[in-house]
């Protein structure tokens, strides 16, 4: 059988991992049982903000089966505070994995109890007596900025980072504007992800070799070990981290390193026995990580006479919860998409980040960009309404045009490719735009509230970590890289290893497709080993699965390793077949995968090639001694360090785009919003595996619809999280998921070898789209959709006139244009 190059990329190859995962044969961190393993339970603070007066573990230690306890004072004496990414004042924060003198959010770990059984550990945790002295909680980011009650006294302020992002000449654009629209306040709510599998860590500080071993489901372990090594005072090569199958992360498992630290310290105190911590769902909800909440104040938009936006200025206040941790990066990551999908060149965003007495945030799917993209979509719809321009037409007037790609944004990011007007056209066709407009007009006559909304968004993938230097010029990160190895095993099997941590993205399948194309064989002949392992698998300082990058970074590494292997195989086969390399072709023959000589009609199979190198090596001539058939390739992104003063540079390699349209009706009796029709159109460049891409689109759509209508992390005035169970925080399920019509276009990326773009995060398009549809339904009522979360309760209050009146919050000024 002959297989042409490029045969498998683009085909709907069934997922190689599907059978294993669907039949319950996946190996997850909690499946791992080790000899003499102990179990850890955290004692958590009921208070959002309080002094820790005393921690008494005596009663817990008396319980039979309890091996040891650990509290903050012990951690302080044994470790260094975690590295802070931000400069001062955020950089002054002293962050430890157990609270020391204060607790700063409800659910913060105060102590840990280690026992021979998880139930005994739980009983022990209940027996720990902690005396608190409550302090004034700070629940709102704007309130936090007053510094009336400080979370981290050592920082001296709750404003942990601030910076102005200024591009073009906004002042001149406002002076020249025909219209100026002012929006008082918009708010992007706090929500999280609810992976099927919660966080799990097994940590062992082995006294035999003084090394720390981790089995866990952290999704960015190369980042975690950099924090852990410094914190635990050990060389980084003394930490081994292994991940296996992971049941979802969506980014929020990146920040499990504090719990990893506690497990290692508890293991050390227990004499080196492995210590397992399995997070409960309630723990996950109150204390793993939430997505960023962001408030947009004093927004001003300049527009020309045609409704083309020429400038935006605004003040953005980001709420990162109690500890910044990974978070200062969020202060710049949004700027990967400063203008969104629009052409305006002038912008000034004053960005501030505040700590509050809420769960720390983490890089939740759509991280930091979705808040900004939602903001831009709200701005576009509000401006369109004020100027009397239909929402679709407004977008067409403002979109970046196909012929402008690659497009350099005002802050130096290079959008690789895209065609937003074509996506809009396709989405309108799929949903039946004109027919819905007619139905909407009819519905309005009947007093029904029916809206049609468009959301256009971007999923910027493969970060330039040099953007961290915009937050902190001293940060030692820049660029991006990923490693992979590709080898022929002793019996000639093709084995690919890549240091990613897939959580359902199908890396085994797509990597096999890429290698199959390079070697001219079929994907089923290729074994792919995923999972991070600092000792056994290829990795770099950026290895992990996050930021919509595997299609670019991971597969580029795999492609590079496969090409290296192919080159070695060619040299070897040319020697065996006594021909030139140009005469060779790769394929599958009667004895499996082989390399053939076209001129001689002879072939050598993979087993023979592997045999010569591995177990019959005396036949190898000297000039082939460098052939190992075990090839490692490190892919590096072609980034430069951004200009940190101007906050200018290319921050991301690819920009997948999504355009969704929703038809939503608000019930006039119950105020329950209901989705009547939904379309999702995606452009992630060259599609590697259509069903995987389609599945990611459905997943991201479900995630976004849940966020828009069901999922909200609600805190009361003293910092109790009121939605910490699935009764109150309602994750979307198949039961409340509408039927989604899917479409896609392909604008291949010039920035990746295959034309593919990362697309797993999805840009939270439904959040934008549903806000737009609700706003469309409510414009006539004078209600302003100010928040990204809307449910029957908030809509009821808005419609009763209690909150969110459009005329109060949005002002428009029409100016006489200056004389020519």
């Amino acid at each position: 059988m002959s297989v042409d190059s490029k045969n498998w990329v683009g085909k709907p190859v069934p997922r190689k991992e599907e059978d294993r995962l669907l039949r319950g044969r996946g190996k997850f961190a909690d499946d791992i049982k080790l000899r003499e393993m102990l179990y850890l339970c955290f004692v958590r603070s009921p208070y959002a903000h309080a002094k820790v007066v005393s921690v008494d573990t005596a009663e817990a230690e008396k319980i039979p089966g309890v091996v040891c306890t650990l509290c903050g004072s012990e951690v302080v004496s044994a470790t260094q505070p975690f590295i802070e990414i931000a400069p001062e004042p955020g950089g002054k924060i002293r962050d430890f994995p157990l609270a020391v003198s204060k607790v700063r959010y409800q659910g913060e770990p105060v102590a840990a109890v280690v026992a021979v059984d998880p139930r005994i550990a739980e009983d022990g945790a209940e027996a720990v007596q902690v005396e608190y002295e409550p302090l004034d909680p700070v629940i709102d980011a704007e309130q936090a900025l007053t510094d009336a009650s400080l979370l981290h006294e050592e920082a001296g302020t709750n404003r942990v980072w601030s910076g102005t992002f200024e591009y073009g000449d906004a002042e001149q654009a406002f002076a020249d504007a025909e219209y100026v629209i002012e929006i008082d306040r918009l708010h992007f709510h706090r929500f999280s992800s609810t992976p099927l599998e919660n966080n799990v860590v097994i940590g062992q500080w082995d006294p035999k070799d003084e090394r720390i071993y981790y089995w866990c489901n952290n999704s960015f372990p190369s980042f975690a070990i950099q924090f852990l090594a410094a914190h635990l005072n050990v060389h980084i090569d003394r930490i081994r981290v292994q991940t296996a199958d992971i049941g979802g992360s969506f980014g929020i498992k990146i920040t499990s390193y504090p719990q990893m630290a506690v497990c290692a310290l508890a293991s050390k105190k227990s004499g080196g026995r492995p210590v397992k911590w399995v997070e409960t769902r309630s723990e996950h909800m109150i204390s793993s990580a939430h997505g960023n909440e962001r408030t947009f104040r004093n927004t001003r938009v300049a527009l020309d006479k045609n409704g083309v936006i020429t400038a935006i200025t605004s003040r953005h206040i980001d709420d990162c919860g109690a500890y910044p941790r990974y978070e200062p990066l969020g202060c710049v990551i949004w700027s990967q998409v400063v203008p969104g999908v629009y052409r305006f060149k002038n912008a000034r965003i004053e960005f501030e980040q505040a700590v509050t007495n809420k769960c720390p945030v983490g890089p939740n799917r759509g991280y930091s960009r979705m808040q900004h993209l939602w903001f831009l979509e709200r701005v576009v719809d509000i401006c369109a309404h004020k100027l009397g321009i239909p929402a679709d037409e407004m977008r067409l007037r403002n979109y970046i045009r196909r012929e402008e790609f690659p497009y350099t944004t005002p802050n130096g990011c290079v959008y690789d490719s895209g065609d937003y007007p074509r996506m809009l056209e396709l989405a309108k066709k799929l949903i039946g735009w004109e027919a819905w407009r007619l139905k909407q007009a009819e519905a309005r006559k009947q007093g029904r509230m029916l809206g049609i909304g468009i959301g256009t968004t971007l999923d910027s993938g493969t970060n330039n970590f040099g953007q961290s230097q915009i937050v902190n010029p001293g940060a030692p990160f820049s660029g991006n890289s990923q490693g992979a190895s590709c080898k022929l095993d002793i019996y000639g099997e093709v084995v690919v290893a890549v240091g990613s941590c897939p959580q359902g993205q199908g890396h085994e399948t797509t990597a096999a497709q890429v290698v199959a194309d390079v070697l001219g064989i079929t994907p089923d002949l290729i074994t792919v080993r995923t999972g991070f392992d600092t000792e056994r698998n290829v990795h770099t300082g950026f290895s992990g699965t996050y930021a919509s990058q595997f299609a670019v970074s991971g597969l580029s590494a795999v492609h590079g390793a496969a090409q290296k292997l192919k080159a070695e195989m060619k040299r070897l086969a040319a020697f065996v077949l006594e021909t030139s390399e140009d005469d060779l072709e790769f394929g599958v023959g009667g004895q499996g995968p082989e390399v053939r000589s076209r001129s001689k009609g002879k072939s050598v199979n993979y087993w023979t090639l592997a045999n010569i190198v591995n177990v019959n090596s005396a036949v190898l001539p000297t000039e082939l001694h460098d052939v190992t058939l075990n090839c490692r390739y490190i892919w590096r992104a072609p980034f430069k360090v951004p200009d940190t003063k101007k906050k200018y540079g290319n921050l991301t390699m690819t920009y997948a785009s999504q355009l969704h349209i929703a038809v939503v009706e608000i019930d006039v009796g119950t105020y329950v919003p209901r989705i009547l029709d939904y379309v999702a159109v995606d452009d992630c460049g060259t599609v590697i595996n259509p069903p995987i891409v389609e599945g990611q689109v459905y997943g991201a759509t479900a995630h976004g619809i849940g966020a828009a209508l069901l999922e909200n992390c609600v805190y009361d005035s003293v910092g109790n999280m009121l939605t910490s169970t699935f009764s109150d925080y309602i994750p979307i399920t198949a039961m409340n998921m509408p039927k989604v019509k899917y479409g896609h276009i392909e604008t291949p990326s010039p920035h990746s070898y295959s034309g593919a773009k990362g697309m797993g995060e999805g840009g939270a398009a439904p959040v934008h789209t549903i806000s737009a549809a609700l706003q469309d339904a409510l414009f006539d009522t004078g209600v302003f959709i100010q928040d990204s979360f809307n449910n029957a309760d908030s809509l009821f209050r808005a419609l009763k006139g209690e909150i969110n009146r459009l005329d109060d919050l949005v002002k428009m000024e029409r100016r006489v244009p200056p004389a020519a």
Partner: protein, 157 residues
């Protein structure tokens, strides 16, 4: 989450008698719903053990109470803090006494602040449950103050 409460009732005792009853831990504490025991530290501080439970969350809470205001015979105010699996409670409860005919009008008010997992697991139940328990306390107070007074210091009515 905050639960506010308040109300008033009248009893046929003089304000001094009512005040002495309310400020005696050994008389007052046993009236608390689900009372299990009291340990008196001094005239102003005592710890009460009570059973608490919301649905499947059950346990014994140690509630530390302090007589924060003591103005005989007009006003007594307790401040307290307790913890139980799933949450902590801080509370302030005051009693204002005024002569009314041959007896005393007792105006009571306060606020309980609940912290912790309990609020999210059982948030909707806490307010009605708290009010129900409080009503039991007030009913108990009224009943106790309607009985002939045992003048032995520390004797429970």
């Amino acid at each position: 989450m905050a639960i506010k409460f308040g109300g008033e009732f009248e009893v046929g005792r003089q304000p001094e008698e009512v005040y002495d009853f309310l400020t005696d831990p050994n008389k007052f504490a046993p009236l608390l719903p689900e009372f299990r025991g009291v340990t008196v530290q001094d005239a102003e501080h005592f710890t009460v053990k009570v059973n608490v439970g919301v649905s499947y969350i059950k346990g014994v809470a140690d509630v530390k109470l302090q007589l924060a205001e003591a103005l005989r015979p007009q006003r007594a105010q307790y401040k307290g803090q307790g913890s139980v699996a799933g949450g902590n409670v801080s509370m302030v409860a005051g009693f204002d006494l005024a002569p009314a005919g041959n007896g005393t009008k007792v105006a009571w008010q306060g606020e309980a602040q609940v912290f912790g997992r309990l609020t999210s697991v059982a948030g909707g139940l806490l307010e009605p449950l708290g009010k129900k328990q409080l009503q039991k306390l007030i009913d108990g107070l009224q009943a106790a103050l309607s009985k002939p007074m045992d003048t032995t210091p520390g004797a429970a009515s």
